[in-house]
Symmetry: C2
Subunit: 247 residues, 2 copies
């Protein structure tokens, strides 16, 4: 159950941004732009915003105005049904874009919550559309980013629709590992920013099942867990576990 403590949307310290100096530009929206195009993009991605751990970047229902590129930190997005059930739809890390779901109805359709103190770059959407009419490279890259999100979602659907508990968790750990590598961190050792309950919600499992699966992986020597600290000891073993058809 997602706690109902008073989550407030945050106020922002406005900071000047420079994509050209950002070491995430190879993962983020500027990807593939030349320096002239990047300069144009910088006019648009003008401000940064800090979000403290536990605070909402945006809330479902709020008018959509901008996308957010994560400069540092870690987020989750979740959707809440009328009857109170909720589901984590994703975990986002630096270089990734938040807010794409809000374009369709011009209102955000999920909540974005910082899982650690974070900083995002604000990309007003109407500016982005205007600029991408002038810069085909940017236009195409933006389309690819949206499409990648669709493909990612299909992967999650596959996970939720066909995998059993341990396979889901293995897939989850391997995915995190990959994404940390892309950011220059260790593929084998990291801190989880989310609780067992949040992992469970994302994977369609109860927190107890997540906990048990972690313990099982540990017993089998696949990983070493100590609360949120994870060390993967046997990546190929996890991979085997993930796509070994049961029976």
């Amino acid at each position: 159950m997602s706690e109902n403590r008073a989550l407030k949307t945050v106020n922002l310290s406005v900071i000047k941004t420079a994509c050209s100096n950002c070491n995430l530009r190879e993962l983020c929206l500027p990807l593939g732009l030349n320096s002239q195009e990047m300069a144009k993009l910088e006019e648009i991605v003008s401000t940064r915003k800090r979000v403290k751990r536990g605070d909402l970047l945006y809330r479902a229902g709020q008018p959509f105005e901008a996308l957010y590129a994560i400069r540092s930190g870690f987020f989750k997005t979740d959707v809440i049904m009328e009857d109170g059930r909720d589901q984590v739809t994703g975990f986002q890390m630096s270089g990734e874009l938040l807010g794409l779901d809000g374009i369709s109805s011009e209102n955000h359709s999920c909540n974005a919550i910082a899982l650690e103190d974070s900083e995002v770059c604000l990309i007003p959407f109407d500016y982005l559309e205007r600029l991408s009419r002038q810069v085909p490279t940017l236009q195409n890259h933006f389309h690819k980013v949206m499409s990648r999100e669709i493909v990612r979602d299909h992967g999650v659907m596959m996970l939720l629709g066909t995998m059993r508990a341990e396979e889901r968790l293995a897939a989850f750990l391997l995915n995190l590992s990959q994404r940390f590598v892309a950011r220059g961190y260790s593929p084998a050792e990291f801190y989880l920013r989310m609780t067992r309950e949040e992992i469970g919600s994302y994977l369609g499992l109860k927190l107890e099942t997540v906990s048990r699966s972690f313990s099982k992986f540990q017993e089998e020597g696949l990983i070493a867990v100590q609360q949120k600290h994870i060390r993967i000891l046997d990546i190929p073993g996890l991979k085997r576990l993930m796509n070994h058809t049961p029976v």
Copy 2:
């Protein structure tokens, strides 16, 4: 398991298309365009293609070149994992767009299979990007279509992650009903184009579970089922069933 009978990609009879005469234009890409803009779009959406029941419109891995707008008929998309497990990621009907997942990698990431004899309009993607740089209305509408797909996927994730079998099936039937209404058909009576197995794959259930749930709904007077022919007798009842928190 998805049968491995030889599915061949189809050859097409090329037909001249006119969005302005199409009675799906309010559901499809032309939405919101004025007649001048529509004329430009028609230059791009130049050809139609027939796809026979059971045939593939495209296959995972093939180079992505165009989007397809469904003019008539019914499709499913599915993803197949290395170990052979597969998952239906969606069912698409007239007026809806196929192929968005292929933009990101420039290769299709799923298979699109016609569930009945169908006809699609071909939209070469590079033309679409070029035109949408000139026509902001089209650009924005296209972005909304992609974003809507993301929101839809989140809905499916919620379904797979938090709902039990009967809730999933109720949600599925109500969703179909709504989409038929938008096309001028009855909200309460329709033919399923897909098998129980395909429904199950989409909903993350086994075909037996789908069949049992249909029978249960029938016993409870919520629907009348006769093979693929469905009559919904109690829409509010299905809705209640769908978001009534269990216990």
